[in-house]
Point group: C2
Chain length 188, copies 2
Amino acid sequence: MARPRQFDETLVIESLMNVFWEKGYEATSMQDLVAASGLLKGSLYGAFGDKHAMYLSALKHYDRTRIQAGIDVLNGEGSARQKIARLFDNVIEATKRGLFAGGCLLCNASLEMAARDPEVKAEVKTTIRRLKVAIMEALSPRIANEDQAAALAAFIVSAYFGSRVLAKGGAPAAMIGDTRDHCLQLVP
Amino acid sequence: MARPRQFDETLVIESLMNVFWEKGYEATSMQDLVAASGLLKGSLYGAFGDKHAMYLSALKHYDRTRIQAGIDVLNGEGSARQKIARLFDNVIEATKRGLFAGGCLLCNASLEMAARDPEVKAEVKTTIRRLKVAIMEALSPRIANEDQAAALAAFIVSAYFGSRVLAKGGAPAAMIGDTRDHCLQLVP
DNA sequence: CTAGTTTATGACCATTTGGTCAATAATTCA
DNA sequence: TGAATTATTGACCAAATGGTCATAAACTAG
């Protein structure tokens, strides 16, 4: 009934996400978002709301794509140990290459935003839960006791997130490797 | 030979640190720092340099005080297991009370700043190493093999940092408890 | 073709940002 | 006391910030 959007929304969200991912919320300016998306300010505001709404959209997009990719691995083929190893190997790979500086947007959002932003906190909380459940289910064929599986899953999530902090902080890749190896030892 | 400082430098750094700790670097404005310190802008710049230098000073102060307090625990009395339990209990305590929103300044700095700020990265890297070594030494009476102790120490640091991400992200305290318990099981 | 509706555009805005500086005040050494 | 040195003060600044809006353009239903 009217003029249609002249851009692919998903493509634009992806570009917004990449900026927030690399720079964080506060360090990202509207100019950065304009430059990255190729749209003009007015269009961005019209389509997504204000900067904060753009961040939330980016976070949800990260959940739907990057986190989901991890969950797909956990739901896919292979032993529990192999699947969990793959999660850590991605971090180690990224650390060794040292190219993209973003790390994990979920972790970044948790530390930068969650404490002062209830909406971000809710989103982060939900995504953490999703990740934990997926790990639990990957473990369930090997661990009959559900509480035990939940506890181990919580633990693996912690170690995984911790490895993202180490990676960004310039810790040697060996520390992340050690973390990975210890985690795998615990997976039956 | 001239007019002396009319303020306690350490006290001022402490107040600057608290602001950065709670809000992060980018979300902290010079106005915030002025308000928190009670000094005027000119005095702050005169004494500490620019905002970035203030952040670095705050980070170093965090190392000298808060991180050192943790290391003191690790160097102090008690079994290795007891000492490491105490690290996690602090996080759990803070999570349950939900009062101070800062979490761990070292983790915050790593995720917000390290990727784009070599000085912060160097500081974070050094502090991570200090923490890891202290954990290693706490373990050493029980683990003869040095490589093994180093690997376990790296692992515990990861799990600890991860629990800080979980805590800020609104994950249930039980997840942090599970993380703690699994860590302790690995400590001989 | 036209009326109606939505999108795109970029000029525009108040506010806030980090940072400077000349003037003044306080101190010490001689 | 006076010369030298440093600290404090607050006014000041250019630039950047997030955000708005009137206008023009593009599309669809009738």
